[in-house]
């Protein structure tokens, strides 16, 4: 690492040590969106109930009305600027369905290339910067170390720079094919707006190769630092961070994990296939419950029903995101990822895995699949085809699109008039699908950790770990209008008086 970078890290250390917890100096570190946690204690000072509240709402479904459907990939990408590619793709796929047009095979490959590039860079961000600090550095580390600085201390100075430059290079692929990397413009019904020129391929091949190396390296890092440490493995498998719920994810025709396309598969808490359906049937399977204390809604399995924030087969609560995807599939679609997948289940005691913190490991397994798929695609001679779009001819009516966002299953549905102007829209975003289980995780962690009214700042990290493992995006969930704020934890006694308020 060069001198400037070195200085920057040192400076962050200093700030951290001056008593203010610096999450990180690295700009790629983030806690997405605004969350508020209220913890109510009973007379013994134990936790009666902890609430994770999402405090705002934007209303994309409503202001989409009257807009031309083909604008939706660009409009909905503004739900989240961290995950714009996921919304953009789900919208483009909803447009294919809306216009009854099959995506041109070249266009589809370009979309998949961009999508896997996005999956790889976004997962890398969480592994090294968001989740990493808790897990790679460790939950018991001093709080000033639970950040990217601590991660670098542990895995070496070069890694920070490697993450920054690897992520930038992978994002160049999205920028080139998508026009813009933040809020791409490529998606149209039947394909993409722009093809890939053969002259770009050597560069993309280079990036792809390095990307795969990077994913393998990341798995090694995870092994060396996390899996070799019994205390961590114990923490992953501890009851405080475990819930037995249903799991959901997209699978291909061989029931392998697929990020871009496939059927939705749901497995029971025992790991048996519960349902498998094309996305057009999602309303037969998913309903949304409303609580008065949060702007977020709580999706549940319709046929099981909403029975509150409880686990088990008789509760309709389900999970999405990496751990859920691995549970819902029969394996990975690429060889290196498959190897990693087998080891994951072997070490964690077989399928399904219910341990929330295992999401971190599952995310690394998925990085491998994304990287391997990028390599496959840049070596596919069809990728640079001169045609990449099929012009739709049918009258639009209703369309549904789905992708696996890094944070889980993402569904867009549009209904239009015959001119393709939106009449109704429904967006079920990834973190929304996870909202009930995340709320349960926060409640369970608080109950497991706070006893006799004793709390310390360590509580915060443990409570945060309970939701951070999901890589939640509260800015995105329910399309909230995030007043992006530090997290607030308020402890209240039975009468509602504030005992303590902790802000991070």
């Amino acid at each position: 690492m060069d001198k400037t970078a070195q200085k920057v890290w040192n400076q962050a250390h200093q700030q951290a040590n001056s008593g203010r917890r610096t999450v990180t100096i690295d700009p790629i570190t983030r806690l997405e969106g605004h969350g508020k946690i209220e913890i109510f204690l009973n007379d013994q000072g134990n936790v009666d109930r902890a609430y994770l509240q999402i405090p705002e709402l934007r209303g994309f479904e409503v202001f989409s009305q009257g807009r031309p459907a083909e604008d939706m990939p660009q409009i909905t990408s503004r739900i989240c600027g961290v995950c714009p590619t996921a919304h953009h793709m789900a919208a483009a796929k909803a447009l294919d369905d809306l216009y009854g047009v099959k995506c041109h095979p070249v266009g589809r490959k370009i979309r998949e290339l961009v999508y896997n590039a996005f999956m790889l860079e976004d997962h890398a961000l969480h592994v090294y910067v968001l989740g990493g600090p808790d897990f790679i550095v460790g939950p018991d580390a001093p709080k000033e170390m639970r950040n990217i600085v601590g991660v670098i201390g542990k895995v070496g100075l070069d890694v920070g720079k490697r993450v920054i430059s690897m992520r930038r290079r992978i994002r160049e692929i999205i920028n080139y094919a998508g026009g813009k990397v933040i809020h791409p413009v490529m998606g149209l019904p039947g394909g993409v707006a722009k093809g890939i020129s053969a002259s770009e391929l050597p560069k993309f091949k280079e990036i792809a190769k390095d990307g795969l190396e990077f994913a393998k390296f990341t798995l090694q890092v995870f092994h060396d630092i996390v899996l070799r440490n019994d205390a961590y493995v114990k923490l992953i498998t501890s009851d405080t961070f475990t819930h037995k719920t249903y799991y959901m994810g997209l699978v291909d025709k061989n029931n392998k994990v697929n990020f871009y396309d496939g059927d939705v598969r749901v497995v029971t808490p025992e790991g048996k296939e519960y349902a498998k359906f094309p996305i057009q049937k999602y309303l037969e399977h998913i309903s949304e419950h409303v609580e008065p204390w949060s702007y977020i809604k709580f999706p549940f399995l319709k046929k099981v029903g909403w029975n509150g924030f409880v686990e088990g087969g008789s509760s309709g609560v389900y999970a999405v995101a990496p751990m859920a995807r691995l549970n819902a599939a029969d394996g990975m679609a690429t060889p290196e990822a498959q190897k990693a997948y087998e080891e994951y289940f072997k070490v964690l005691g077989g399928k399904p895995v219910h341990h929330t913190l295992a999401n971190h490991w599952a995310r690394v397994v998925e990085m491998l699949q994304a990287a391997e798929r990028i390599v496959e695609l840049v070596n596919d001679p069809e990728l640079t085809g001169k045609e990449f779009r099929t012009i739709p001819t049918k009258t639009p009516k209703i369309g549904v699109g789905v992708v696996e966002a890094p944070r889980g299953t993402l569904i867009h549905q549009y209904e239009t008039d015959e001119n393709g102007l939106i009449r109704r829209a429904n967006l079920i975003v990834a973190t929304l699908n996870n909202s009930a289980r995340i709320a349960m995780s926060v409640d369970k962690a608080a109950k497991g950790l706070i006893k006799g009214g004793k709390v310390d700042d360590g509580l915060l990290n443990m409570v945060e770990m309970a939701f951070r493992a999901y890589d939640p995006c509260f800015g995105c969930a329910t399309h909230t209008l995030p007043g992006e704020m530090p997290m607030i934890v308020t402890l209240r006694d039975m009468k509602g008086g504030v005992i303590r308020e902790i802000r991070r």
Partner: protein, 321 residues
């Protein structure tokens, strides 16, 4: 050694894309972090409201604020940042003019709430429960903030010194703005920190843009194969290039799609939509009213097209019923 200049980043109602654009400075971010002292950056650092409150007024050299303003919480934050900062930079389309979230100014708040919690496909809510400002759950009192009924731009709430345009601004422009601030060579207050030229000037397709477009028809981008070289307007696709400020180097036309106007207007223009209408519609070939109407039928959503990012700022900004 004198103190390094103090800088704050803050986000209001934003998708996070503006923050991601700062992250996309990539290796350059290390230079920025080396040259300034970041005293607030909720996305990456842990400074609290109280830390800012405790600072002397005007002790922050520059506050970069992105996102539109919709809640009392955000109002409070931006007013405080105004007090503590010498310079406030309105960062990105949402802060500058409402951005995409301001499209909600076309809907009443009640309609938004009713749709989301009652009418939306798949909602199972027989009791018509809505999130409430204050509620009881199992004997616990919980509160939520109230939504304002309007999405406002930053300068509709506080005084703003400079504007960085774009949805989001490009890393190049962000870097240039930071360097200008650090050098102390500040342009006049109110300046938009991006070239004051129309986007067409930066567009590779410019040479194929005819002086007289003679438009006979507007087409929507999914209906035709878009020629990757030719001016989009000349192909009959609504491209906001002539009414939009440059600075992005015509990214979207480079992606073979039309500009949707995220950089806002140039300094000579007040209303971006009106500018587009006056400059482009005079090029409509037919002269009879009904023929003109037929041409305009190709633009089924004029508000969403001409004011995609600007509804907080333009005269159309509110639907009353």
């Amino acid at each position: 050694m004198p103190d390094k200049p103090k800088v704050a980043f803050y986000w209001c109602a934003s998708c996070g894309g503006c923050e991601e654009a700062v992250v996309d400075l990539a290796e350059d971010i290390l230079t920025v972090v080396g040259a300034v002292d970041i005293v607030l950056w909720p996305v990456a650092m842990d400074f609290k409201k109280a830390d800012i409150e405790a600072r002397p007024d005007k002790s922050i050299v520059a506050a970069f604020i992105n996102g539109a303003v919709r809640t009392s919480e955000q109002e409070e934050w931006v007013r405080m940042l105004r007090k503590k900062s010498q310079v406030v930079v309105s960062f990105g389309a949402c802060a500058n003019s409402g951005g995409i979230p301001a499209l909600a100014n076309q809907s009443r708040k009640e309609d938004i709430l009713k749709y989301v919690y009652e009418d939306c496909p798949g909602v199972d809510n027989p009791d018509k429960t809505r999130p409430r400002i204050k509620c009881e759950d199992e004997g616990h009192t919980l509160t939520l903030p109230e939504l304002r009924s309007m999405v406002r731009s930053l300068d509709q709430v506080i005084d703003v010194d400079y504007y960085l345009p774009g949805c989001p601004p490009t890393p190049k422009l962000i870097m240039a703005a930071v360097q200008a601030l650090l050098s102390g060579k500040l342009p006049p207050k109110g300046t938009v920190l991006s070239p004051d030229i129309a986007l067409c000037e930066e567009c590779k397709r410019k040479d194929s843009k005819p002086a007289d477009l003679a438009l006979t028809e507007f087409k929507r981008p999914h209906q035709i194969q878009i020629d990757p070289e030719k001016c989009l307007l000349a192909q009959g696709i609504v491209c906001m290039g002539p009414a939009t400020r440059g600075g992005c180097e015509a990214l979207c036309p480079g992606g073979n799609m039309a500009c949707t106007g995220c950089f806002g207007p140039t300094s000579r223009v007040k209303d971006q939509g009106a500018k587009f209408v006056s400059s482009v519609f005079s090029n409509i070939a037919p002269k009879e009213e009904k023929d003109i109407d037929a041409v305009l039928d190709g633009i089924p959503d004029p508000i969403g097209t001409f004011y995609r990012y600007g509804l907080s700022k333009c005269l159309l900004r509110r639907k009353l019923n």
